[in-house]
Amino acid sequence: MKGPKTIKGRPELYTSYAQDMALLNTRPKRAWSLALVVLAVLLPFLITDDLLQLLATGFVAAIGAIGLNIVTGYAGQVSLGHAFFLAIGAYTGAALSGPETGRVIGFGITSLPVWLLASGLVAAFFGVLVAPVAVRLRGLYLAIVTLGLVFLGEHVFREWTSLTGGPGVGRPAAIPELFGVRLDRNNAMFTAAQQLYLVMFVLLVIFGVLARNLVRSRVGRAFAAVRDRDLAASVIGVDLTKYKVLAFAVSSFYAGVAGALLFVVNGFFDPGSFNLLLSVQYIAMVLIGGAGTISGAIMGALFITLLPRITRELPAVLPFISGDATGAVTVFQVEAVLYGVLIIVFLIVEPRGLFGIWVRVRNYWRTWPFSY
């Protein structure tokens, strides 16, 4: 630890602002973070490949959810257009890394850092294009305009078959290659699932820490100021236009990165994937996880990604639910209903989401055994 030493027996006594403002400023935070990282790194050797794939998808979804949380949870600009920016990222990544010859556009640049960064930047560019509209609207009106983006995108991607492969056919996802190693293929040391899981985990940690730094900086505070009181924000010197545009740019960058990675695990995707339901899923991740927190977005994303896996087990317990697409009540219907029910339940019972539940558990044990 940097700076002056802590005093023994007084873990929460800070003797410098550097200590006070550190990212992990308490001992439990450091211990928990370390434990989570160790657990996450050990998991590939403990659980099966199909669960690893699911978790890897969850990590990618978490990057996207962090992005949505920056614009909606921190800057207070409700966006239903996240699916559109995910699509931009997915197609940028796939087109850049795809093979040069074939039925869909491809440039053969398979290096993951290159196409990942490009996907984020292209999506951010579209975010900045949309932002001027967002600056003039708020609340419900902004939600409707961003909703329009999703439909616009759906149409363009359905028609632009040389890029997307067309509905029902689709195209291969971006090809992940890092230092000459194809991550989506088994090799002597690791299976494809293990490699992708670890890479997605590292990327989530990187993008998570970057976002956490952003939101505790003057930029993040300005976002929150715009969200809480825009009049007061401008009077203390926050340029509203600049920070709204910036929030959209950062959010779309994260969406672009997540979009490019989202289908790498499955290997294939279709323009029909980027519909309103996808946007709603991300809203659900943010609301269930906890709006305005980075760790909440991660929890929400993992929860929503793992939810189908749990509902798939339902037919075994509740025989009236059918496991396939036929029957009166199917697992797919139950899933769709669950998203809605969970959003409602969380908004009423715990508006701070999973993060809020975690805070309550933590506070309970902090004062244990005098917890009342």
Binding site: R218, D228, R229, L231, V235, I236, D239, L240
Partner: protein, 262 residues
């Protein structure tokens, strides 16, 4: 009275459609002066503040602040010039802690951009630490130590008012606008706030414009008072002069006030 004027307001006129909110108001505020604006509800006091801070744009008139013309500048530009204000109805960032609210007051004292913020290295880190320490001075000045980590939405009303003053002070302003700093406060809270306003004058030497209905506070603290009615200034002078003016008594103070003060 004052030799150098920090603020010069010349013949401001502000109308919303047919409603004239401010009609030909002129005044000036000197270095380290406490200038008060009083008048009945709807007289245009807060409208003047909104003109000064760039929220409204008047149809006519000039506002000169340390030589810069303010009319037509956007609020955040005016804030950058060193004009800060509080609001009649508290306008704090209710989900943020006291420290974060005050740090937002220092927004313009930090210059690093988003890329630096992502990494939290070098400039971002050193500027944050430096400004955190400046914020602590304000916390100390306004005796907010026990509330540091609380989201301001949870704090008592009187403390919120104090935090809002703190946010304005954290900007290191060259002119401070106080919009009803003691509105809705009990006697003790009012006395505390009066003490802080006096401290701001004496220790920080910041000129202030105060809109307030508490006549005791205004007459005790202000150097000069401008009385407004229906958008027009009816008298500007020292508290004693204003209190004795028959027009002011008729428009605002009331006949009873005459018998109390004389």
């Amino acid at each position: 009275m004052a030799v150098v004027n920090v603020l010069e307001v010349i013949d401001i006129r502000l109308a919303f459609e047919g409603v004239i909110a401010v009609d030909g108001v002129s005044f000036e505020v000197g270095e380290s002066e406490l200038f008060a604006i009083i008048g009945p509800n709807g007289a245009g006091k807060t409208s003047i503040f909104n003109v000064l801070s760039g929220v409204y744009r008047p149809q006519q008139g000039t506002v000169r602040f340390n030589g810069d013309d303010l009319i037509g500048r956007r609020p955040h530009r005016i804030a950058a010039l060193g004009l800060s204000r509080t609001f009649q109805n508290i306008e704090l960032f209710s989900h943020l802690t006291v420290v974060d609210n005050l740090m937002l007051g220092r927004h313009n004292h930090m210059r690093y951009g988003p890329l630096s913020a992502f990494l939290w290295l070098g400039r971002a880190r050193s500027e944050e630490l430096k400004n955190r320490s400046a914020v602590e001075d304000v916390i100390d000045f306004l005796e907010l130590e026990q509330w540091r980590r609380f989201p301001v939405g949870l704090l008592p009303y009187g403390v919120q008012k104090r935090v809002e003053l703190g946010r304005a002070l954290a900007m290191d302003p060259r002119l401070l606008l106080l919009d009803e700093p003691v509105a809705g406060m009990n006697v003790e809270e009012t006395e505390d706030m009066a003490r802080f306003i006096l401290d701001v004058r004496e220790e920080l030497n910041i000129p202030m414009i105060m809109v307030e209905h508490d006549m005791g506070l205004v007459m005790d603290l202000a150097d000069r008072v401008m009385v407004m009615d229906f958008g027009r200034p009816i008298r500007t002078g020292t508290p004693a002069e204003v209190q004795a003016d028959p027009d002011v008594i008729r428009a605002y103070l009331g006949e009873q006030h005459r018998s109390v003060t004389t």
